[in-house]
Symmetry: D2
Subunit: 310 residues, 4 copies
């Protein structure tokens, strides 16, 4: 990062508190499972890590929250690493143009999910990992812990259980894909892994660190080890750009202009390839299910720093 | 462009002929209107213009062809410039997840096209321009001629007529949107403008020049005049990234990694923001309707030069 | 009709006024074209003709109203008579499971309308008649006038014009089918015929007479001439049973239990094969677009006379 | 039945063998579960019972086969009897216009199945019976045994198990409806009941007897006891007419003209209200999944006896 960029970043982080005051905290906290609804809706955190390892942070950036669907970036990374190009015989890379849990297109396309970030696709990625790993939950957790450099990262069993109790739509999807022979493992085992995956708890600081490989040609900035190849890194970023925000991917590209992924816990990660990763958290969601203030602040940030990929 | 980049670009253009020999010329020339089917399927051209005005070219890069849907980038640019943010009240920025001429989603979304590049959206953009311009066909042509710096750029009346004779699907869409009060002008006038728009003939060299503003924060490299603002430039690039290749946008982002737009004449433009614009032409289309060799060569190019936005 | 049936019918018609008082006049008069909205919403008429030519009537049964889609039974009859079994190569006989003007299924089924009573199907029937008749509007009118025995039956030009002015959805459908080569004539000519067809004005007495062939193995009760064959009569009744009430065909079969056809003018015809035809009129429509009181009174009638086909 | 009708019926049954020779045995035996594919494809049986208790039979009419979806008429009858009109708050009576196992419409209509005969609807009916009965499988079996007058009627455990092993699509649907709170019991219990229901084995003679109440205002001809009320009888017949043949209901109404229900085992029942019930069996199915020769023979029968309801 050159000095001009550094100055711009510092300036924006200084202006953040004032800017935040001007953004009404609109939307609703996710309530489809009771556990998610207990969060304090006023929480706000942001943490950014540049490719040359500078850190910028503000607010509740060290407080853990339920990262939910953001975990799908990490499971995709591990599955892509293990499965190589064969992965794309069972799943697409196209935006769905539908809500995250729609079965309409899955029916039209005979059990092949459109991409790894809609629920059906993320469930299929879980099936891949259940096939590839001996102890899927434990080994995936190890993978994440090493990415973050924190052996205490963990699932929230309470959230995972609650997801399971309200998980009929996801059970419907796994059974549906299995009817098309696109799920190889036991339905319950795939679902159990999926519900745990979504229950991961991390802070903005941890999330931003976990995905540093996406802004560094595949190399984890902490360990300096290659997580995946540069080519696959680009591809994961491309999928995030096109499919990371459900049916609001276009809006995010239009307003923020970075690859990213959101979760219903109110978290968002965004990647500026070769420049930085950023994680933001604000629990209230807009009507499309993405963090209201999270998107606004990222828009403010990329506008002020002129740092969209477009 | 630094010397390392320059060297890489030169090297890739030198390797192009050999690379091209290794790509089978698969696919089919578009034949839905007879005029398009007469083209020589062996044609291949490419022209690249860097933000610092260097030109790289190969093959039939000065031969004119029917740019078809690529013209939708130019009409969107003019409409966005004239209509400002009000434009987005009548049209979305999300990928459709459907074929380019599907009415399914248009029905679900009550006559609001998903984005400016599916046929319905491009027709709506034509309606905007018919409202805003006194002589739509002439004034739009002036706009394009100035972008290219060539007063001889023109519509192909023969192609436009042929489109009209086979244009029942497009007529269906305009009538459909008008039934939802999302078309303000006479159906025939909108269609006539649309058919002419799609009949524009340009060479790769002209196309690459026409869109230089998309790699230069909105400024035309030839005239040094602002075509549109930097912010709108980013937004057009974002829409191209998400919606520029019909139902293969994800594939293009995944393999090539640049914002772009294709046409059924076999042309593709791609933009590396702040770095370069490139136009490629090879008439045979893959099953999704995008140039087969065009996509392969752009993939080769961005891989060799490591120049995707991701 | 035996004396027991006759007694039952007389009794029900005597009870009608009292019954009618107990049915709230719910729903809304059709307003998608201004002309239809001017009707007095309190109007109510019913006329029944038995296969042995007895007539039962009540209320405004001699007052003309816009029969709208009920005319589609008459155009289907003429087209089936002229085109024979070839007709079914271009149109289906299955319920659509969709609203009357949906394009969704038409797209899935490549321009083949599901049945002759959804708008797309009725438009296709008009195309058949335009091909088969020298002067479609005049000859169709002659056909209807002979069915009723009244040379004064006529189109309402004011309604036809108003339909045309608001007919973009229908124009969309004809163009759509033509894009699949399933319309053989000029789009405007087909639409003009369709809009006139829907503008026919008849009274309940006239309507009940017009369709007497459907309760008499194809023979018009007035002229004693065969309109169509017994076999085709059964088939038209079958199509009415399954497709006559848009997305409420099941409800009508469930509650009334007779083949029938409704129109947005508030008219309904129903047929008890070999027993009677009945026409009822009450302008206010339920949310599915069928006459609210019309359906209620027919339900009352078939329940009291135990005369459903089931 | 008058003497003229009796003569006609006798004549048709005498002509049946010759007629059958003229119908090619086209189509394919169902093979989605291995057990169904083992049947002899040449089998053919028919059994008809008139409202005045005359029996007509031909071929393998006493051989048991897997009645599959025909059982849904019996489960609907029991559920309608137990649940009364409340049943229709959870399920519709409209044709679906889709394949029997489509989730598309179920998603559009928020977990409310279109009718009791598509798979989702039949599963919901099973949920009703699981709620209402203490021992659903046993009590339902008792109900069927009493209808037939044969205590040996039974499920085929081998078929039920095979259905379960290939039942992911059905599991998907139950989970889907449960996600909309339209399934009240345990998913596995509902599925187990459903798979048993579909495994019932009966002969044409037994099937025709089982549904005699549908041609006799609700009264079982054997026991002379009311199974359900006359009004509900009509309604079940109406639903069969509109929804009994998946996406071929219109074709069956058009060609045969009677309420009926088919199963993938090659069986069909048809009802002429107040006149007769008939069961036919021929294992090979047309492409819509209905018995090829079964439909042809019923068409021949109703044409020859002029006994359609239309």
């Amino acid at each position: 990062m050159n000095s001009k960029e550094q100055f711009a970043f510092e300036k924006v982080f200084l202006e953040l508190p004032e800017q935040l005051k001007q953004i009404p905290n609109l939307g609703e906290v996710a309530s489809y499972i009771p556990e998610l609804s207990h969060v304090n809706p006023e929480k706000f955190g942001i943490h950014l890590i540049t490719a040359d390892k500078q850190n910028f942070a503000y607010g509740d950036s060290n407080e853990k929250f339920s990262i939910q669907s953001i975990a799908k970036v990490l499971s995709l990374t591990l599955a892509f690493k293990l499965e190589e190009e064969k992965l794309w015989e069972r799943i697409g890379v196209e935006p769905s143009g539908n809500a995250f849990n729609s079965l309409f297109r899955l029916e039209q396309e005979k059990g092949i999910p459109r991409n790894p970030f809609i629920n059906a696709g993320a469930l299929l990625i879980c099936d891949v990992l259940v096939s590839r790993l001996n102890q899927p939950k434990e080994e995936f957790l190890d993978f994440v812990r090493e990415l973050v450099g924190n052996p205490k990262i963990n699932y929230c069993e309470r959230i995972a259980l609650s997801e399971k109790e309200h998980g009929y739509r996801n059970a419907s999807m796994v059974n549906f894909m299995k009817s098309y022979n696109n799920i190889n493992n036991d339905v319950e085992e795939v679902l159990d892994f999926y519900f745990h995956l979504c229950s991961l708890e991390m802070s903005c600081a941890e999330l931003a660190q976990a995905v540093t490989y996406l802004s560094s040609d595949g190399m984890n900035l902490l360990t300096q080890k290659e997580v995946i190849s540069p080519s696959k890194t680009k591809r994961i970023n491309a999928i995030m750009q096109l499919c990371g925000f459900y049916d609001e991917a276009g809006e995010f590209a239009f307003e923020v202009g970075l690859p990213g992924k959101s979760g219903v816990g109110g978290g968002i990660i965004a990647i500026h390839p070769l420049k930085y990763t950023v994680a933001v958290w604000s629990p209230k969601l807009n009507e499309k299910g993405n963090s209201y203030r999270g998107m606004k602040i990222l828009e403010f940030f990329t506008t002020q720093t002129a740092s969209s990929v477009f």
